[in-house]
Amino acid sequence: MSLIADPRTPRASITIECRLFARYAELLGRDQLTLTLPETATVGEAIATLRSRLEQGDLLPAAPLAAVNLEHSQLDRQLRDGDELALLPPLAGG
């Protein structure tokens, strides 16, 4: 037997908090927003969504440094409902 998903069934979604810092916050004129994404979304897909949905979103790089829940993250990490995604301009502490 094979199971075929009904393409009309809406896919589940997740909601994440996005935070922007320093130069990125200044470029986009905001430092926080909520984003709803498909439940399979990765960090990279969330960033692509921000770049396409936000006014002047294309000013963000396609592959910036990112952190999820206060920890550096690769772009292929899968997000979960309630995650906090942060886009980090090049780090310059010290």
């Binding site: 810092f21 920890e71 502490g93 010290g94």
Partner: protein
């Protein structure tokens, strides 16, 4: 710096290394009067805890302490201080170097240079 040293000093730790990073105005830096530091503060705390944990795994007998200033720091003043104390000097130097290099590489901190004409710009690295 005295407070940082006091946090890690112990009779069994015979060597302590202290590093201060200060706001620089080199010949190519332009008329910088101050650097304004901003941070993702909750992540700085979490990431620095991870760095300390890694350092403890490598130098279990050592002690570590650090501070990073935020806001405007005038040229010539310290922005970051790091101290590592260990039973012997070689471990203290190695651990201190590890802490400052990892802090610079991993902590989400950004700086904006302020110039003497009132303008400012973000600075990478």
């Amino acid at each position: 710096m005295a407070a940082l040293l006091a946090e890690v000093s112990a009779p069994e730790r015979g060597g302590a290394v202290a590093f201060l990073g200060t706001v620089r105005r080199g010949p190519d830096d332009g008329p910088v009067t101050a650097i304004e530091y901003t941070a993702y503060e909750a992540m700085v705390v979490a990431e620095f805890d991870r760095i300390i944990e890694e350092a403890r795994a490598r130098w279990p007998e050592a002690g570590f302490a650090a501070r990073h200033r935020l806001g405007a720091v005038p040229t010539g003043e310290a922005s970051i201080g790091i101290v590592a104390a260990a039973p012997h000097r070689a471990q203290a130097f190695e651990a201190g170097r590890f802490l400052i290099e990892e802090a610079k590489r991993r902590l989400p901190v950004w700086k904006r240079e302020r110039f003497d004409d009132g303008t400012a710009q973000w600075r990478d690295a």
